[in-house]
Amino acid sequence: MSSIGSGYDLSASQFSPDGKVFQVEYAQKAVENSGTIVALRGSDGVVLAVEKFIQSKLHETEVQSMTRLFHIEEGIGASVAGLLTDCLMLVEYARDEAADYRESNGVRVPLKVLANRVADYVHAHTLYSAVRPFGVNIILAAVEADVGPQIYMVEPSGVVYGYSGVAAGKAKQTAHTEIEKLALSRTPCEELVKEAARIIHVCHDETKDKAFELEMSWVREGMGYERVARDTLMKADSYGKKALDDTDSDSD
């Protein structure tokens, strides 16, 4: 449902007559052009998966550059969709806030608190004409002692919600449909890694999109944040490809 801004979209300090802040809506569009990211909350942790577009055939995949998965704090990970350089700023902010909190309070920041602080920061950039909003959806994940695995996602408007499973980017609708089919709370991360890979493959449009690289990381109880190991990643990737081929061949 898009409308033309015509004059009320020049800065974030303006409302339109129908109550929209167009700059924020445009920021959300920037996220919609980005590769899909998925986060799944399982019984013992959270899996983060990213459809990372490969810009050029000359791109060297061995050297990890322009990754969209980040380690924020001990046991806290993040994945991002949208303008990558905006994402890097937010990740830096999240890292600083988390470190600051630990220094003042002597304990790790609770994920809810960190997510709210990032959300406030993103929101602050929707108030003034001197800055533009972040074109970023950032997903934060952690396993907490009393409450278990957690996922929060912050949107360009500055709203933040907790989720059991969420997606952002180009094919988020398709991804959400797939996520809803899963019995997340009963599934361990070992399984979810494969499902996440499958969902990314389902979301990827061979005809319209560039080639992509599957990136995954997870936060697990007692293990903290890690990028998924190469062999586990390869297995999950081939499971994903195979599941896609199976569904393709099913349709007559």
Partner: protein, 243 residues
């Protein structure tokens, strides 16, 4: 009655003879110490962990040199409903720091929707005491109860270090307690044993330290909140030579 009048006259005469005259040239050196010394909680403070909570105790003397400015001071100060601190050193400094920590922890509770942990409280004390170490004279024991780790005692002495200890003592009177604590502390004591232990400790220090005295104040903090006690006069534990 005649004798009484005589004594009071003599007292007035002597005080006029020996008191330093307050003149235009009076300076720090000619004024008595109670006019120039900073208010100090000379003090004895102590805290101990037990399974289910903590017991804390303190004396009640605040001095300004040799003058006892307050003989019924409360050195056990609340920072949250479940966390208290025992203050020793400068009365002003410790009150100011405790107030700031109270402010921080209140804010923490609003933001998190939950009680702060004892560790968080101790960390907040430590940050203030360390970052302002050159201006402060504050030796603090932070003790309380939280649902994750039960009863905990943290000591934050002069330089601003912090560490958790099962039993901690502080203040000028604590010098006389190291032997008592080393000889009598055993892990696994129950609440009532802890109350006796702390009361004994404060009493022993009061008997030996001129900067400690007055009543023995105690508090017990558990999941059910805080229970406070005051031991006055005969209630204070007696030892050899307390006739």
């Amino acid at each position: 009655r005649v004798h009484g009048d005589c004594y009071s006259n003599m007292a007035t005469m002597t005080s006029k003879m020996f008191l330093p005259a307050i003149s235009a040239e009076a300076n720090e050196f000619s004024k008595p110490d109670w006019l120039t010394e900073e208010l100090s909680t000379g003090t004895t403070i102590a805290a101990i962990e037990f399974d289910g909570g903590v017991v804390i105790g303190a004396d009640s003397r605040t001095t300004s040199g040799s003058y006892i400015a307050n003989r019924v001071t409360d050195k056990l100060t609340k920072v949250t409903d479940y966390i208290y601190c025992c203050r020793s050193g400068s009365a002003a400094d410790t009150q100011a720091v405790a107030d700031i920590v109270n402010y921080h922890l209140n804010f923490y509770k609003m933001e998190h929707g939950d009680e702060p942990s004892v560790r968080t409280a101790a960390s907040t004390f430590r940050n203030l005491c360390y970052n302002n170490r050159d201006s402060l004279s504050a030796g603090i024991l932070v003790a309380g109860w939280d649902k994750r780790n039960g009863g905990q005692v943290y000591t934050v002495p002069l330089g601003g270090m912090w560490t958790r200890m099962p039993v901690a003592i502080g203040g000028s009177g604590s010098s006389y307690l190291y032997g008592y604590v080393d000889a009598n502390y055993k892990p696994g004591m129950k609440k009532d044993e802890c109350l006796k232990f702390i009361a004994n400790a404060i009493s022993l220090a009061i008997n030996r330290d001129g900067s400690s005295g007055g009543v023995v104040r105690l508090a017990c903090i558990t999941k059910d909140g805080v229970e406070r006690f005051v031991l006055t006069g005969d209630q204070i534990p007696k030892f050899y030579e307390d006739s």
